[in-house]
Symmetry: D3
Subunit: 258 residues, 6 copies
């Protein structure tokens, strides 16, 4: 299976990414059918674990989306499992130093580049010839998150680590670490300056910056700044926004009846 | 626990109902927190079964919503199970005759009114005094669906069955049975005439007509016609609408970049 | 695997039966290890379905207990499934007439006695010689519930149905149908007279009467009356009783500190 | 999605069908990737229910196989649910009379042909134009099982029912009902004569006979007789045969060491 | 939602805590309805994981109990997940040194106190104003376990770590590390001396000592010693004790019949 | 329960081991019934997690096989959980140094040998006398994997670590780390030399070497070399091989019809 994220990036365009917090194959396939380029299962903050990730990946298999995952932590056990389980990209939270970035890449790659153990259970069937292991190191996207002041201070060292495909900004944690309110779609000049620098440093290295947004308006702003992957809120957020909107309109327009 | 649907109806107002097709306690609690009056787990057409219904009911327990369920069929086994599992209202599809309506009510009620078997496992703890069995026959809402030409022809006989609390219109099946395209929010005069008659006949009998809508606009129209319970699309529909809207806006506004 | 219930009955003794409402293999194995002779998964009023039954049966497989199930209704689909899934006895609720008893037995037995379809997936592995199908009609216990006034009136006709292994009394539903409060461990003379007759009629036919109790005291009383299978409350009831007892003692004995 | 079974039949060829008893999306996707034309989830005798069927269907979505299901019984609730859940063909056990066949077809088809209720949750997303409801009656395969002496006696009346796409032979139940040992791959002349007649009667009506086999040898024999769909054992049977074979060879060839 | 544990402690009283090893929302809600002040899901030794914890938390949502969790290890990934999933208190096993206690607190707290990542999925709905992130650092209980000789030696240094709300004693591991038999409700003088010191040191620092007990007798003794949180066995233990008691009484009192 | 692996090894024979990647109790019990000596749930590369391991262990409880597990990583949280959950042996991937081997053993053993925390939930019922904790350190098999060049270089230091019961070779990772293609059943002289040395060094220390094979031929070759535990492919591999074989034969022998 081709990695659509890589193709879109190679074409100079921006990836529109979905984010799954609901641990259900059914909501996953609904989301996967809506027109996203990639769909990320969030095992860190979502109500997800390895097994629900597998079900989400299976359910989105019929749709032309790249399956990705955010792992709960930079730990080799879970990183190996999500890759074997079908992730074509891994987003790793709280990568704050060059060393942590190197560890992350090493956990994601087969020898000699890294120490990933062989056993891609959902990618290869025993006894069926496959080139997976030959191409996996190139195809698997390693995307550390930049979301703390420390990470910003180490930005260039982190970006220099070979094997990194991009960087993902967590705006609420980033702001939090600068003493700001945790929210998405930030507009504080000090934060925007970080974004600008990040985009420029990524460009230099031909890697791709992504960011978590709270909807289409923020996504468009971030695309215009130069981000190459934008996430449009998570599924439970989209659901709640939509339900609240409809309820609000009914209550408002029913002349006191509802 | 008070039955909020009954209270709202008693006050002359309209119930705003949610509809769950996603088999996940997490999406259920998200929906239950959005401001609905009641939340219905759809075991007929939703990706739900008895066990996912229990999880949805448990997850919405902290919210002030009345748990209801649409059963897959007018069958005593499943009707008993959903009531024992915590449903305070049962919506039953394809009730087309007086006899079917009588069966349905009988399955829902304890003796002497009906033949429901005693064992309300999620409503009562063994050894703890409870009045559940004394009040359940009054509190449990029995709501047959009116969704075929046959049912329309038998409308008055069905509505006359003692123990029925209301009627729920399935607009797409109803239209289908009249040779029309299956869709919600109907405007064909022949269908609207049925709605008018149904509302009038319900009023006469002090029971309450409800209807499945595709969003707030249709719900408001139906409230204005006289419906007393409106469902605002199901959760997977709300999710897909919301996701498609955001993706569409991003693609449209990103100047060809996404 | 031998059917321990049949062996105990053949020896003239009484079966001590467990009742599972918690849909968890772990609580099932805890219960199965406590010393019961048989363990019944209650799909009717318990928070159980076919799949949780399979997990409970698997988890109790290491313990010397006979797996049984109470089905939600006298319906051939579920009766076939629980037998294929490993039940060695089926308790069927609300069997009120001879015809219903005949249907029930027919659903449980292979041809020529009945119409059960062949496919005992958890009893036989394909290609491994097995005598299951030859002995299943004899070994599978068919136990209709006697729990309504109608059933009492038809008692002898029901007990005459060939293939019935015993009868199971549901005291709360039985009382309910006579206008009494639904509870276990009944002492009303009119009910005790029914029990006496049932025990005598079962003895005549060499079949075995069982009954649902609310703990050991009621069970002992019923054993002394002549019942041959007693259920000691369900797992969730035992759990709640135990927890409430310990909490009560702590609060009472902690001198106002807790 | 095209119905591959219909295409293969239209081309004059034979469908090679898989049969899933293991309730796991992972084993389902392994099977779906092995080269079958269709994959049937067996809710009757398999360790499957509606929810595991959904997971199996989701997991096989990336593979070019037609999803089908064997329902536990000829009951409208479950037949509607499996169709809404994605089944493109329904195999129904124990269809013994013309009336039962008519019921079955009616449960499977939308008005005016039948009484299926509208709500194809996994086939259509709300608000997205789809022709599903227009083509479903033609595309959905209704396949009653012929597996009793009664069904054989009513063969022609059953096959005459409009809307039936084929017939599926259950050899073990069929033999059972004739007093023979329940097994697959039968060779008794009286049974082979039934097969011959069935194939001829199907040909006359341009419908397609299928049969359950115990492996490739039986399947080839049945193809040569004229069957148009062959099932090659179920997944748990294939797994056990394979494991037993390897263990046997190890024990045999390890010179007493293993 | 108020943190009931904090309120009880502030009032000078003792918290009566439940302990869940059974991975079922149903047993969780049964326990939560029995009168406990807090309910702890044990992911370390219980048959629990993150996903079963979520289901237990959802199911107890309707009851006035504080949800807590024992994590399997002092690891930031799982600590973040249980907090996002709704835990208002975290009990962490095997915290033996000041450094380990500091790590634990850091994993539990948002910046600037710690490094917890922002995304409290079950506590906050996107787009709905909430003060969760402002109050979480104060409200979340960080409770390291004291259960080894090393921890006892480091007791004061551990208790001095800012942000610790209390300490939880694991009596069986504690005894084990001193070469004693692993059991609850210890009475060895060397252990009681440790308890006394711990209680005194906690008092000094206005933090709260808790302890795992095997039932109400041990709990009362520990309350009298000065413990401020007592756990009354786990759910599976309560269930087994209760079932064994009833079986024992039936067998003893049935005159050899059962 | 006796540890069959230890008994077989003590008798000088070879253990035939199963490997479970399918997260289903049903496929686990099918495998457990096929004649293996031990059955290993693979949480590293299999589609398994802790909870599916518990279900697999429960389902194989009725069969005389030793339950083992491969953990995802050398991490104390999961190692404690699988042991409490019923594993009698732990296979740990990527143990490359003496230090890592010492850590691994320590995580597996109770004090004073190690730091495993007490709470063997599926091995002991509260209040029931048990010797588990006394014998667990001896009975639990600690089996590090030898699967990298580094591990080969440290072979003797690793094998010297007290408490190790054996070593498990991962042929594909081992080859990978030497720059070879990742596959099982290796025949490269440099690899065979490693095997020979490993077998000799194990013999010296009275511990047991095991190896992952791709079927019976490789297993027999490895037994003849001196390996004392052989794994015959995993369940999903056996299933796929079997299904592909039958499909292939049908297509080949049906004269173009299938």
């Amino acid at each position: 299976m081709a990695n659509k994220v890589k193709e879109i990036w190679a074409s100079g365009k921006v990836v529109v990414n979905a984010w799954l917090a609901i641990p259900s194959g059914f909501s996953a396939e609904v989301m996967a059918g809506c027109g996203f380029d990639s769909v990320t299962v969030d095992i860190q903050h979502g109500v997800q674990d390895y097994m629900s990730m597998v079900q989400c990946f299976q359910a989105m298999g019929a749709h032309p989306v790249t399956p990705m995952v955010r792992v709960p932590w930079n730990e080799p056990g879970i990183i190996g499992k999500v890759l074997d389980g079908g992730a074509m990209g891994v987003i790793c939270p709280m990568v704050n130093t060059k060393r942590e970035a190197e560890d992350f890449v090493q956990f994601c790659k087969y020898p000699p580049r890294g120490t990933r153990s062989n056993g891609p259970i959902r990618m290869v069937t025993y006894g069926v010839p496959s080139s997976y292991q030959k191409t996996a190191n190139d195809d698997t996207l390693c995307i550390p998150m930049l979301e703390t002041r420390t990470a910003v201070e180490n930005m260039e060292a982190i970006l220099d680590v070979e094997g990194i495909s991009g960087v993902y900004v967590g705006p609420s944690d980033l702001g939090f670490s600068y003493g700001l309110v945790p929210k998405l779609d930030r507009e504080e000049p000090e934060i925007l300056k970080i974004y600008e620098k990040l985009i420029k440093e990524c460009e230099k290295r031909k890697i791709y910056p992504g960011i978590h947004c709270s909807g289409w308006e923020g996504a468009v702003r971030n695309i215009n700044m130069g981000f190459k992957l934008v996430t449009l809120l998570n599924d439970s957020g989209l659901l709640a926004m939509s339900a609240r909107h409809h309820i609000g309109e009914v209550r408002k327009n029913s002349k006191g009846k509802a």
